[in-house]
């Protein structure tokens, strides 16, 4: 049996890095393509109801009786038990910040002077850890905290379209309004 050794010097110097300047000066041939693609996504049953309730100024979840989770965003089947979910459950438009970021770069790669504050917000009334993604405002970036209590601020009914953005943003619940709410 002949044992052959593989060449010890790996052959990894191939490839031609392009210089941005050369590209700008038109020294390199290019071809461009902008596809004209439009998509219309069906909401499905769960999202359809979720969006309709958002238009009404409410958050709704679905529960699975087997694992006993109350799930938001709602879904027609439980991905863990792999069975249909059972009931619609209204949940509160208040919650707790699970995590957040201060983002200085927009979705289209522009630099922002004031950061956007995306956060995962655990929703009151849903199972522990059930969070949704949204934006936090009306708070100084340096004051945002994991564990902060926040409430949804809704767009006026006439401006709602049945979208997650019918909630304009979430803001800290201050102690005064917390007392007012619990006194009711």
């Amino acid at each position: 049996m002949i044992h052959r050794t593989i060449k010890p010097e790996p052959n990894i110097v191939q490839g031609t890095p392009l210089d941005a300047k050369a590209l700008k000066r038109g020294k390199i041939f290019l071809n461009s393509y902008a596809p004209a693609l439009r998509y219309t996504w069906d909401t499905g049953e769960a999202m359809g109801r979720y969006l309709a309730e958002l238009k009404n100024g409410r958050l709704i979840a679905r529960s699975c009786r087997k694992c006993e989770r109350v799930m938001i965003p709602p879904r027609m089947f439980c991905e863990r038990c792999f069975r249909p979910t059972d009931d619609w459950v209204y949940v509160k438009a208040t919650g707790t910040v699970n995590t957040f970021s201060l983002c200085y770069v927009s979705w289209d790669v522009r630099r922002l002077k004031q950061p956007e504050i995306p956060a995962v917000i655990e929703i009151d009334g849903a199972s522990p850890g059930m969070g949704i993604l949204h934006l936090v405002r009306k708070v100084a970036p340096k004051d945002v905290r994991i564990g902060m209590r926040v409430a949804a601020v809704w767009k006026p009914p006439a401006q709602r379209t049945g979208s997650i953005t019918d909630i304009a943003y979430w803001m800290p619940i201050n102690r005064r309004s917390q007392r007012t709410v619990s006194a009711k």
Binding site: R4, I6, P17, P73, T99, S101, P118
Partner: protein, 380 residues
């Protein structure tokens, strides 16, 4: 593998060809000795090229052969090697060529714009998110849960970019300090610019062979001892991001297959996925190579340095070598191959490592893909 570059002149097909040919040449094999080809590359929307896998087949040695394309986001580079392993381990193929290729320079003005549709169209896209969000949210949760500082995380960038200085393919090898990292622009707090891997063009390939063939081809085969992969729910906002459960599950799947019972003792070298500095630490914990929350301390103690007790990312990783999405994980497998054969040149870790683990990650904080390799042939 090819160089990893910000933008390559080569087409995707040419990049795949360069890496595939280099792999075949290094094994002194011809294409007609390959029974099947596996390709990993990001979906068509990335390149604006429909049926990209079929287009790339010519460059991957796929002409008139059984051919498989796979993709799990950044997890692909390690996952494709696991898929290649399946082909050979099934007994249907004696040899396989695994090629992973990515050109991220094609999508204008930035691949970020193609990424937006990874987010849910109803619950997330209307909020105009960008990919930085999910990393920043996860890094913050990880830091907060374990009281980890930015300095501790910055050390990963310092180590990996320095390690990359020894890699001929590296895009961003550099000697930087923790101070440099923390002075770099805050992109999405707590993420600083020097904690983020670049977008890259590049390709990497490996040749796989069954027992008898492998032993005939080389005196120093590197054996795949275990493979594992696991996908978590796409409902990422319903999860506590401080710890990657799916990486742990994928790791144990591979460790069990490899007969590894105490990973921290039995793994000599690790190449976890490092698209962001904190991710290396996050993944080391998922890989059972550090207790939860302890990876930063072990890093600070020098345990993960090239000459430390458990060298981590001696290649220089995504932070230093580059991040062409599907190919980066395969770069890590290539690194383990060279390290275990003593062929890693300036990057060589001392002490004749015998077993290594490569891990990649992808999607919405979702997939763990793990391969364990070693110098000992697995028992049949």
């Amino acid at each position: 593998m090819t160089k990893f570059m910000r933008r390559a002149l080569e087409t995707p097909k040419e990049l795949a060809w360069l890496a595939a040919k280099a792999a075949l040449d290094s094994a002194e094999m011809k294409l007609d000795q390959i029974d099947g080809a596996v390709l990993g590359s990001a979906p068509d929307a990335f390149d604006g090229m429909h049926m990209k896998g079929e287009y790339l087949a010519d460059g991957c040695g796929g002409w008139r052969k059984p051919y498989l394309r796979c993709y799990v986001g950044g997890g692909t580079g390690v996952y494709a090697v696991a898929q290649g392993w399946f082909q050979v381990a099934s007994g249907l193929f004696d040899t396989a060529l695994v090629v992973c290729e990515e050109k991220m320079s094609t999508c204008q003005p930035h691949p970020q714009a193609a990424f937006i549709s990874i987010f849910d169209p109803f619950t997330e896209q209307p909020l105009k998110p960008n990919l930085l969000w999910i990393f920043a949210l996860e890094q913050n949760r990880y830091m907060q849960t374990h009281h980890i500082t930015l300095e501790e995380i910055a050390r990963v960038s310092v180590k990996n970019k320095r390690n990359a200085l020894g890699h001929p393919s590296a895009q961003l090898g550099a000697e930087i300090t923790v101070k440099d990292v923390l002075a770099s622009e805050v992109m999405a707090w707590p993420v600083h610019r020097l904690m983020v891997s670049p977008t890259s063009d590049g390709a990497a390939a490996v040749v796989l062979a069954a027992g008898d063939d492998a032993r005939r081809l080389t005196s120093k085969p590197v054996w795949i001892q275990g493979v594992g992969w696991c996908l978590d729910t796409a409902y990422w906002t319903n999860r506590d991001l401080y710890y990657p459960e799916y990486v742990e599950k994928a790791a144990w799947m591979a460790y069990r297959m490899a007969g590894v019972k105490e990973p921290r003792r039995e793994i000599n070298i690790a190449e976890p996925y490092d698209p962001f500095a904190y991710k290396e630490l996050h993944h080391l914990e998922g890989l059972q190579l550090a207790p939860k929350g302890q990876a930063p301390k072990l890093l600070a103690d020098g345990v993960f340095d090239r000459d430390g007790d458990l060298p981590v990312t001696p290649s220089g990783g995504l932070l230093g070598v580059g991040n062409p999405i599907a190919a980066a994980g395969t770069m890590k497998i290539c690194e383990l191959f060279w390290q275990l054969r003593g062929e890693a040149g300036r990057r060589q870790v001392p002490g004749k490592p015998e077993r290594g683990v490569a891990q990649a990650w992808g999607d919405l904080m979702q997939v763990g893909t793990v391969v364990v390799v070693g110098t000992t042939e697995p028992k049949r």
